[in-house]
C-alpha cells in the first residue's frame, strides 16, 4: 500500500473517532432502524473500528459481519451537520479487512467478477464504445443487465428533446459497489475505465440514469478513490434534464387518467443528491395531473432499497430494507410505486409483486406517454 493511500485511510478512519460516541444520525440509519441493534448503527460501526484500533476487539467473523452490514447509503453523512464522511471510513476499514483476507468470501468472488467482466451480474464484458459526440449517456451494469427497459425508454425520451447520446460504460459497474466492499484497487480500475470511455467519446456532457451514478462521478471518485473527475465534463441526471425541458415547454406528455394511487420511490443514494428530489415528482405530476402520495422515508431521508453491496454480503438484510420501502409505500395507501433508477427497480420488483404493488419504471411510463 502506497504512503498516500495509508494517509487517506488514516484521515478517513479518524472520522470514526468522531462518530464512535455520537448518536446524532441514528434516527435515519435504515439498518439501525430495521434491525433495532445498537451495533448496526453509525456509532456502532465507528465504535467497532475504534475498538479494533485499541485492541479491545479484533477483526473476526463477528466484527467483520457487523462491519459489512452498513448499507453505504449515505443517510448518516447527509444528516450530520458537520458532514462527517463515515461511509468512507467504513469503506476504508473494509479495505483494511479485505487486504488481510478477512472479508466475507463473497467479497473476493465479486472482486474476480469485477476484474474479469467489469460487473457482478453477468459474465459478459462491457460493450465497446460506439462512437464519439458531445453528449454521452453512462449506461452502467444495472441498466444493462437488471432493468434494460429503462435504457430504451430513456433514449426515446432523449430523442424527443433532440439528444442522441453516445452510450458509454454499457455493462460496466461505475465502481461504487467495489469501493463499498473495500475493493479500492478494483474500484479505481473500474472508475478509470469509465473515465477512459468518457474521454474517448469526446463528450462534454455526460447523462446518467440514477442518482447513484451522479453521486459516484460527482463525489465518490474524488473523495473515496482519489480520482479527479474532468472539469470539462458536466454530469446531469436524465430525470433532471427531462424535468427542465418540461418546465421550458419543450416536452409534453399525454395525461394518464388512471386513478390508481401512486407513490414515487426516491432511489437509493437520493440523500446524497438531494437537489434532484423534485424533478421526478414534477414529471409524474404532469402525467397524472396531481402529485403522488408521499412515503414516510422520502427525499432527504429516503432509505435505500436492496441495490447496495448488502445484496451480496447480507442478502437477508438487503431484502429487509427493500421490503421496508415497500411497506412504507403501502402504508400511505399507494398501489403503484414508480422509480427511475434501474437498480432500485430491480431490487423492489419481486417484493412489490409479493405485496401486490405495481412497480413501474418512470422512464418507461414517460416514454409511453410522449
Amino acid at each position: 500500500m502506497g504512503s498516500a493511500e495509508i494517509k487517506f485511510f488514516e484521515n478517513v478512519i479518524e472520522t470514526t473517532e468522531n462518530c464512535r460516541y455520537c448518536l446524532m444520525c441514528r434516527h435515519t440509519c435504515p439498518v439501525g432502524l430495521g434491525t433495532h441493534n445498537e451495533t448496526l448503527t453509525p456509532h456502532g460501526w465507528g465504535l467497532i473500528i475504534a475498538s479494533v484500533k485499541r485492541g479491545l476487539l479484533t477483526w473476526n467473523a463477528q466484527t467483520v459481519d457487523a462491519l459489512y452490514s452498513c448499507a453505504d447509503c449515505g443517510n448518516c453523512r447527509a444528516h450530520c451537520v458537520f458532514d462527517q464522511p463515515l461511509p468512507h471510513a467504513i469503506a476504508a476499514a473494509r479495505a483494511e479487512v479485505a487486504a488481510q483476507n478477512l472479508a466475507p468470501a463473497v467479497v473476493y468472488e465479486l472482486n474476480e467478477l469485477f476484474k474479469k467482466w467489469g460487473n457482478p451480474y453477468q459474465p459478459q464484458a462491457p460493450e465497446p464504445l460506439g462512437g464519439s459526440g458531445n453528449v454521452a449517456l453512462f449506461v452502467g451494469d444495472e441498466a444493462r443487465y437488471l432493468w434494460p427497459s429503462a435504457l430504451a425508454a430513456a433514449l426515446k425520451l432523449l430523442k424527443a428533446i433532440g439528444v442522441e447520446p453516445i452510450l458509454v460504460g454499457e455493462g460496466r459497474s461505475n465502481g461504487f459497489l467495489a469501493s463499498s466492499l473495500g475493493l479500492f484497487e478494483t474500484a479505481k480500475m473500474l472508475a478509470q475505465a469509465v473515465l477512459d470511455d468518457v474521454k474517448a467519446s469526446g463528450a462534454s456532457r455526460l447523462l446518467v440514469l440514477s442518482p447513484g451514478d451522479f453521486y459516484s462521478f460527482g463525489q465518490l471518485y474524488t473523495e473515496r478513490l482519489g480520482i479527479a473527475w474532468p472539469e470539462s465534463v458536466a454530469v446531469q441526471e436524465v430525470t433532471v434534464l427531462l424535468a427542465d425541458k418540461l418546465d421550458a415547454g419543450a416536452l409534453k406528455f399525454k395525461p394518464i387518467s388512471d386513478e390508481t394511487p401512486y407513490a414515487y420511490l426516491d432511489p437509493t443514494h437520493t440523500v446524497r443528491v438531494p437537489e434532484r428530489v423534485e424533478a421526478p415528482r414534477k414529471l409524474l405530476a404532469a402525467l397524472y395531473g396531481k402529485p403522488g402520495l408521499e412515503v414516510f422515508w422520502r427525499k432527504d431521508r429516503a432509505h435505500p432499497a436492496g441495490n447496495t453491496a448488502l445484496q451480496f454480503t447480507q442478502p437477508e438484510l438487503s431484502h429487509q430494507l427493500t421490503m421496508g420501502r415497500l411497506y412504507d409505500t403501502l402504508e400511505v395507501g399507494a398501489r403503484r410505486v414508480i422509480c427511475d433508477d434501474p437498480g432500485t427497480l430491480s431490487a423492489i420488483k419481486a417484493g412489490a409483486e409479493q405485496v401486490r404493488l405495481e412497480a413501474l419504471g418512470l422512464y418507461e411510463l414517460l416514454a409511453g406517454q410522449l
Binding site: Y21, L23, C25, H27, T39, R54, A66, R301
Partner: protein, 480 residues
C-alpha cells in the same frame, strides 16, 4: 462481578431465547462491547483508554410487553439484574450493565398506536425513536413540542424515565408534564397502566413514581403524550447583557409575569466567549441571551414586545432576530463532533435547578468551587441558564479539563472528585442533584443526601416494588 458458568448461561439463554426468539437474543462479544457504554463520559473515557467495561450477559430485543414481562420473571427466578435500554443516549451511566445480567433493548417496541387529533394526544410504544415520532406528528400538522438534543437517538421511554427536558420546555413543559399516562412492566412482571388522564382527584398519583425512576421501578412500554398544533409563528430574538444578574432578572420577570416565552437561553460570559463563538460564530462579550415566542402570531408578537421591554429596562442590547434564528437553526450543533466537547478532554454537565432567590448565588458558588478547587488542573467552568419555570431556573453548567490524567483510573477519580465538588456546591446552595439528565450511576451516591429523611421512604418503596432488587441495580441510589 458474577461470573456465570457457561453451563448456567446456556440454560438461562435457552429460556430467554424461547421468549424472544433466536434472532432477538445476542451474547456476541461485539454487541456486548457496543452495549457496554451509553453517552456518559466515564464509560466512553474508559473504552477510549483501551480498558474494558462490564458487559451484559444477554442482550434481548423483545417485541411485546408480554415478552418483557416474561423476561423479568426469568430474571427474578435467577436473580439476574435487568437493565432497560432505549436509545443509550443517557449521560449519567443509567443504562450501563455494571452487574452484567440482562439488557433489554426496547427499540422493537416502536409503533405509533394512535394519534388522536381531537384530544391532541399520541400513544406510542416506548421504544420509538424521538425524531421519527416527531416526523410522524408533523405529517399531521402536530408536534410533541419536546425537542431535546437527544431527539435523534433517544426513545419515548428514554424521554420519560429520567424526566428529560427539551429546548422549548420553558413554555411546553418537560416530558413529565407532557405525559398523559403510560404502561409499565413492573419488577415482578405484572403489566399495569396508569389512569388515562393525569389530572384528577381519584387517589394517589402513582404515575409520577415511575417518572425519574430510570428503570429501577420497571420498564415503560407505552405512553400517551399530549401534542400541540405546529405553531403558526415562531419569533426568535437575541440580546446581550453586560451582567448575568441583570439577565437572570429579565428572565425571572418574563416568567413571573407570564409572558410565556418558549425559550430563554442565557449564556454566561464564559460560554458566550467559548461555545457561542465556536459553534455559532458570534464574537461577543457579555451574557448572550436567546429568546423565543411561538403560537398565534399576534399574541407571540405582543409577548415578545413585552419581553423585549423588560430586557431594555435591564440594560440589554438588542441583537435582532438573526442571532436568535441562527441559534434556533443550529441549537443541536453544540452536540455534534467536532464542535461538541469530546475526548480526550474531561468534562461533565453538572446541571441543577433552584428558585430565583437562590440561582445567582448557586451559579457563583459552583463557579468558585470548581475553578478554585481544581486550579491545578486549569479546570474551566461555563454555564448557561437553559430552562425556566415560574419559580426558578435550571443552571446548565459544565466543567472542562483539557488535559486530564492519561491513566484511566486516575482520570476517573479526578472526574468523580470534581463531580463531588459540583454536586456538593449545588446541594449546599439550594440546588438539586440534577434537573433533566437524571441520576443514573454517576449521581447515585448523592441521593441519600438529596432526600434526607425521605430517602428511607424511597428505599422502602423500591424494596416493596422490587423485592429481589433486579431492576437496574446501582442506579438512582438503589442497590440490590
Amino acid at each position: 462481578m458474577a461470573q456465570r458458568a457457561v453451563f448456567t448461561s446456556e440454560m438461562i439463554r435457552s429460556e430467554l431465547e424461547e421468549i424472544v426468539g433466536p434472532p432477538n437474543i445476542s451474547t456476541d462479544e461485539t454487541d456486548k462491547l457496543v452495549y457496554s457504554t451509553d453517552w456518559a463520559w466515564m464509560p466512553q473515557m474508559w473504552l477510549d483508554r483501551g480498558e474494558r467495561l462490564a458487559t451484559p450477559d444477554f442482550i434481548l430485543h423483545p417485541g411485546t410487553k408480554e415478552e418483557i414481562s416474561e423476561i423479568i420473571k426469568v430474571a427474578n427466578r435467577f436473580r439476574l439484574p435487568v437493565v432497560p435500554w432505549g436509545g443509550g443516549s443517557g449521560t449519567q451511566g443509567g443504562a450501563l450493565p455494571i452487574y452484567g445480567g440482562i439488557l433489554i433493548d426496547t427499540k422493537r417496541l416502536d409503533k405509533i398506536i394512535e394519534i388522536n387529533e381531537k384530544a391532541l394526544t399520541v400513544t406510542a410504544q416506548a421504544g420509538i425513536n424521538g425524531s421519527q415520532l416527531e416526523w410522524a406528528l408533523n405529517e399531521k400538522g402536530l408536534s410533541l413540542m419536546h425537542y431535546p438534543a437527544s431527539a435523534n437517538c433517544a426513545t419515548l421511554g428514554g424521554y420519560l424515565a429520567p424526566r428529560g427536558t427539551g429546548t422549548i420546555s420553558t413554555k411546553y413543559g418537560k416530558a413529565e408534564d407532557l405525559v398523559i399516562g403510560f404502561e409499565v412492566v413492573l419488577p415482578n412482571g405484572d403489566i399495569i397502566r396508569t389512569p388515562h388522564v393525569p389530572n384528577h382527584a381519584s387517589g394517589p398519583d402513582f404515575m409520577r413514581l415511575f417518572l425519574g425512576s430510570e428503570g429501577v421501578f420497571g420498564v415503560i412500554t407505552e405512553a400517551t403524550m399530549q401534542v400541540d398544533y405546529l405553531p403558526e409563528a415562531r419569533l426568535m430574538r437575541a440580546v446581550l447583557f453586560d451582567k448575568v444578574a441583570n439577565a437572570i432578572e429579565a428572565g425571572r420577570r418574563m416568567m413571573t409575569r407570564r409572558l410565556d416565552p418558549m425559550v430563554i437561553r442565557l449564556y454566561d460570559p464564559a460560554s458566550t466567549g467559548s461555545l457561542v463563538k465556536s459553534v455559532l460564530g458570534y464574537e461577543l462579550e457579555g451574557a448572550y441571551m436567546v429568546l423565543g415566542w411561538d403560537g398565534d402570531p399576534d399574541i407571540a408578537a405582543l409577548q415578545e414586545q413585552k419581553g423585549m421591554a423588560i430586557c431594555d429596562e435591564l440594560g440589554a442590547r438588542d441583537l435582532g432576530r438573526e442571532p436568535g434564528e441562527h441559534w434556533w437553526k443550529h441549537r443541536y450543533d453544540f452536540y455534534y463532533p467536532p464542535k461538541s466537547l469530546k475526548l480526550p478532554w474531561m468534562y461533565g454537565t453538572t446541571e441543577t435547578v433552584t428558585t430565583y432567590d437562590k440561582i445567582e448565588g448557586l451559579y457563583a458558588a459552583k463557579k468558585k468551587a470548581i475553578e478554585d478547587t481544581y486550579q491545578d488542573w486549569d479546570a474551566k467552568y461555563i454555564g448557561h441558564f437553559s430552562h425556566w419555570f415560574h419559580w426558578g431556573a435550571a443552571l446548565y453548567d459544565r466543567f472542562i479539563v483539557e488535559q486530564p490524567p492519561a491513566d484511566a483510573q486516575e482520570a476517573l477519580r479526578l472526574h468523580n472528585r470534581i463531580w463531588n465538588t459540583a454536586i456538593t456546591a449545588s446541594l449546599e446552595n439550594g440546588g438539586m442533584v440534577n434537573e433533566h439528565h437524571g441520576v443514573g450511576l454517576k449521581l447515585a451516591r448523592f441521593m441519600p443526601r438529596q432526600y434526607g429523611s425521605a430517602w428511607p421512604f424511597l428505599q422502602s418503596l423500591k424494596k416493596a416494588i422490587d423485592p429481589n432488587g433486579i431492576m437496574n441495580p446501582g442506579k438512582v441510589g438503589f442497590g440490590f
